[in-house]
């Protein structure tokens, strides 16, 4: 409960000692605020003489579009006949112009890229026009959640663009966007989105409340928020799905999920979710159901392989030689001959090498990254076998485990899988198979306790909800997907009109 307040009654206290903020918040009057802003060079505030009056225009230079000021404001102002500030509203080509005396609002809007028009500097009465410059990048194809088939659109850093991308796919009035801001310093805009009439109010309220209760100064990315509002903040398992695909968000919303978008983050967070959702990819829905199911099972199998391959190798070679098949025992023994370490050290050494390679590769430019891959894979691999530092059987297992871990479509889950094998490995080295079983028991116990926005995390399996198994290990055909997942407890549970779908027409002569 470090970042989340329990009672949300006191909204503007400075008890936490935000000295930086206290000064800004003390600027109760507009002139205080102006004098504070004038210390910054990018703040522009100048008087303009019109036909019948003078106005003062103030704005933050880098935040607004200078072209628009010249094109959309100044010509109209200079040519207008207004004598009063409120009359200006009719001359300026803007749909929404806020006329306010509220200092707080002026402060907030000005800092977000609005321009302020006043009669003179001391007058608290002002017009606010939105002229925010669009600095963001263009909508690009997804990079993290790439799919072969399907739409190639990914979210960008702008909240409005992201909402537009979703709205385009959801042209219904029930699609609701609730906006608020988080972060004491960053004041980042965040929007909770859901479909009214499908999403359970309880989920919407849980998410909204948790977002409102966030007490932290720096919210840059949605991944920060995920850690703060997850049910279990110490779990290695991500409890909310992040995605950069609008189509995925839309399908989740239609299932009855709730999502939120953070301004400045190209990842939308959705919940409540289950562990299975982290192993599903868009392609699962684009292929025929049995193909999709097969590939999903391959993916799950490779995750299991990735976690258990090296621990099992270590356990079997250290304690349970009886388990090795007769024909394999020769290969294993001769490949381990002369290796100076016990299997556990050997395996840890190689696992860490792979992790180092991966860490090095992730943050390198693509071209250098390839070189690292070749250097790591071929040179270190072959050399360490030839130098007798490791057995080639283990090298194969490690490489395959590393490869298998990449099949996880979700990057966060991918990291979890990477980490999970180490406790297993260490337990295998100390206790053999019993150690693996014990760590597995701990893991299962942990998963049983996990929740996502208060809903069980391993839901279709525990609690067993047979109808939700239609999209878990296998993905059944669309004809079997007539009901929304029970996990979300949707208000409207049916996806299709079953009567109409099953209606049999008579043969018409």
């Amino acid at each position: 409960m470090l970042f989340r307040r329990k009672n949300k009654t006191n909204n503007n206290n400075n008890k936490n000692g935000h000295k930086l903020l206290s000064r800004a918040e003390r600027a109760k009057s507009l002139s205080d605020f102006f004098s504070m802003m004038e210390e910054s060079k990018d703040f522009v505030s100048s008087d303009h003489k019109l036909k019948h009056m003078t106005v003062r225009i103030s704005y933050l230079n880098p935040m607004v579009d200078p072209k628009s000021i010249r094109r959309d404001i100044l010509p109209y102002l200079i040519s207008c006949d207004a004598t009063k500030l409120e009359d200006l509203v009719h001359y300026l080509p803007f749909v929404s112009i806020t006329h306010t005396k509220d200092v707080e609002q002026i402060k907030e809007k000005l800092l977000k890229g609005f321009i302020l028009i006043q009669k003179h500097k001391e007058d608290p009465d002002g017009l606010l026009l939105e002229l925010t410059a669009q600095h963001g990048r263009q909508v690009t194809p997804p990079e993290v959640e790439f799919s072969v088939i399907g739409p190639k659109t990914a979210f960008v850093e702008s909240l409005d663009t992201n909402i537009a991308l979703i709205r385009k796919l959801l042209p219904i009035p029930n699609f609701k966007v609730k906006e608020m801001s988080v972060g004491k310093v960053t004041k980042t805009k965040v929007a909770v989105i859901y479909i009214d009439g499908i999403a359970n109010r309880e989920n919407v309220n849980t998410l909204t409340q948790r977002l409102k209760d966030i007490e932290y100064d720096n919210i840059i990315d949605s991944s920060f928020l995920v850690q703060m509002l997850s049910d279990n903040k110490h779990s290695p398992f991500p409890q909310l799905v992040d995605t950069e695909r609008p189509d995925r968000v839309v399908s989740a919303l239609i299932e009855g999920k709730v999502a939120f978008i953070l301004d400045g983050s190209p990842f939308v967070i959705m919940g409540p979710t289950t562990i299975m959702e982290f192993f599903t990819a868009f392609d699962d829905y684009a292929l025929v159901w049995y193909l999709a199911s097969f590939f999903r099972l391959v993916r799950l199998g490779s995750v299991a392989f990735s976690v258990f391959a090296t621990p099992l190798y270590v356990a079997v070679l250290t304690y349970h030689y009886q388990l090795i098949p007769q024909d394999l025992i020769g290969t294993l023994i001769s490949s381990r001959m002369g290796v100076p370490f016990p299997p556990i050290i050997e395996a840890l050494l190689m696992e860490l090498t792979i992790e180092v390679l991966r860490e090095a590769g992730v943050r390198l430019p693509t071209k250098v990254g390839q070189t690292i891959g070749i250097v790591g894979g071929i040179v270190i691999g072959t050399a360490s076998v030839q130098a007798n530092l490791t057995s080639n059987v283990l090298l194969i297992l490690i490489a395959m485990a590393a490869l298998a871990s990449f099949t996880t479509p979700n990057y966060k889950m991918n990291n979890t899988v990477r980490l999970l094998r180490f406790p297993f490995l260490i337990a295998a080295g100390f206790f053999g198979m019993i150690g693996i079983a014990a760590v597995f028991a701990i893991l299962v116990a942990h998963l049983l306790k996990l929740t996502s926005l208060g809903r069980p995390y391993i839901e279709p399996f525990y609690p067993l909800r047979l109808s939700d198994l239609k999209d878990a290990f296998v993905r059944l055909p669309y004809s079997q997907q007539g009901q929304r997942p029970l996990l979300q407890r949707p208000v409207d549970s049916g996806r299709v009109n079953t009567w109409r779908a099953n209606f049999k027409y008579d043969i018409d002569e």
Partner: protein
């Protein structure tokens, strides 16, 4: 905080347990693959073990293992282990044991002490092969065979391959089942070294754990036919003095029925249904016309051989076919002593029905 403390205590106590389990890293142990026991003199036995030695390959494929076989003489009643360990550079582990051989002379005096060693050891699998050697186990284990494999794997494959075909199923588990079970006696294959091959000479019959006699290999098929249902066995039907036909069976089903079970003269009916196809024929007979005749000859021969087996078993007083167990399932008041007494006089009626399904592709 309290939770964390409890967790730390639990984890550290786990770590304290680490010292209790001895690691057995595969390349730091000697894996015993075959054991041999022989009679040495009245108070000593000769124990032989075979362990593979794998060469270091330096990361380039597998190099053929060589067998290291050595024997020690031990006083009866003492374990061989201490003596064997004293000649080995690594601890000996019998978890991957494949085969145990017993010399015939030793087997006559009772095998159980030498089976009990592996029976109690949870490391040893229950499907390992046991065999009696006509001669000395040590000779076979020390022999250089022309096969690629080590002698242990060679013997194990030899026995297991035959159990899949015409030889009745047997392994450590089956032996122990028959040994401890009521109304049954165990058996094992009897091996013999013939020049550069080992041959299954027949079925070694046991009374309790004492070897008594053996059934020649020719009788393995009729024995198996009465012992269990199986397929893929092959059998030769003598058409006349010089001509034989080889039949491979598709299925062989055996069914037991017992009448007058509680009386002193129970009648046991053994009904066997054979279904097979003709594989080879050395005769000039046209098989197509004579299928019925071949079937009849086969039925008659199998019945005759089966009855010979039954007579021999009754005379020896051993019951590897588990007839006593069959009777027991019909008789509430069954007792081992009573069965042993009436077994030689029991009436067994064997009925074999044969169908030849196919006579090959050259019709």
């Amino acid at each position: 905080m309290e939770k964390l403390k409890r967790m730390a205590v639990a984890l550290s106590s786990l770590l304290l347990l680490v010292g209790c389990e001895q690691p057995k890293v595969v390349d730091d142990i000697r894996i015993v693959q075959a054991l041999g026991y022989d009679y040495y003199d009245e108070s000593h036995i000769l124990g032989t073990i075979t362990t593979p030695i794998y060469a270091h390959t330096g990361g380039s494929g597998q190099v053929q293992a060589t067998a290291d076989t050595y024997s020690v003489v031990s006083h009866i009643g003492r374990t061989l282990n201490t003596l064997l360990e004293s000649r080995s550079e690594f601890p000996l582990e019998i978890g991957k044991l494949l085969v145990i051989l017993y010399g015939k002379d030793l087997a006559k005096g009772g095998l159980f002490p030498y089976i009990d060693v592996v029976n109690r050891n949870p490391d040893v699998g229950r499907t390992i092969s046991l065999a009696v050697v006509d001669g000395r186990a040590e000779t076979i284990l020390n022999h250089k065979f022309t096969t690629d494999q080590l002698v242990s794997a060679y013997l194990n494959d030899l026995i297991q391959h035959n159990t899949k075909a015409s030889f009745p199923k047997n392994n450590l588990h089956e032996f122990l089942y028959s040994y401890f079970g009521d109304g049954m006696d165990p058996f094992m294959p009897l091996l013999k070294l013939k020049q550069h091959h080992v041959e299954i000479e027949g079925i070694a019959l046991f009374k309790g754990d004492n070897y008594v006699d053996y059934l020649p290999f020719e009788y393995a098929y009729p024995f198996k036919m009465m012992f269990e249902s199986f397929n893929d066995g092959s059998y030769e039907v003598p058409i006349n003095r010089n001509h034989y036909m080889s039949i491979t069976n598709i299925s062989s089903k055996v069914d037991y029925k017992v009448e007058n079970a509680s009386s002193n003269r129970p009648i046991i009916y053994i009904n066997v249904k054979e279904k097979g196809f003709l594989r080879e024929s050395s005769s000039t007979m046209q098989p197509k016309q004579n299928i019925k005749e071949i079937e009849r000859i086969m039925e008659r021969t199998l019945e005759r051989e089966g009855n010979q087996i039954l007579e021999m078993l009754k005379k020896l007083g051993v019951d590897p076919l588990r007839l006593g167990d069959k009777v027991r399932s019909y008789d509430r008041g069954w007792s081992e002593e009573k069965w042993r007494a009436i077994y030689p006089h029991v009436t067994v009626k064997l009925d074999v029905r044969t169908t030849l399904a196919q006579t090959g592709i050259i019709e």
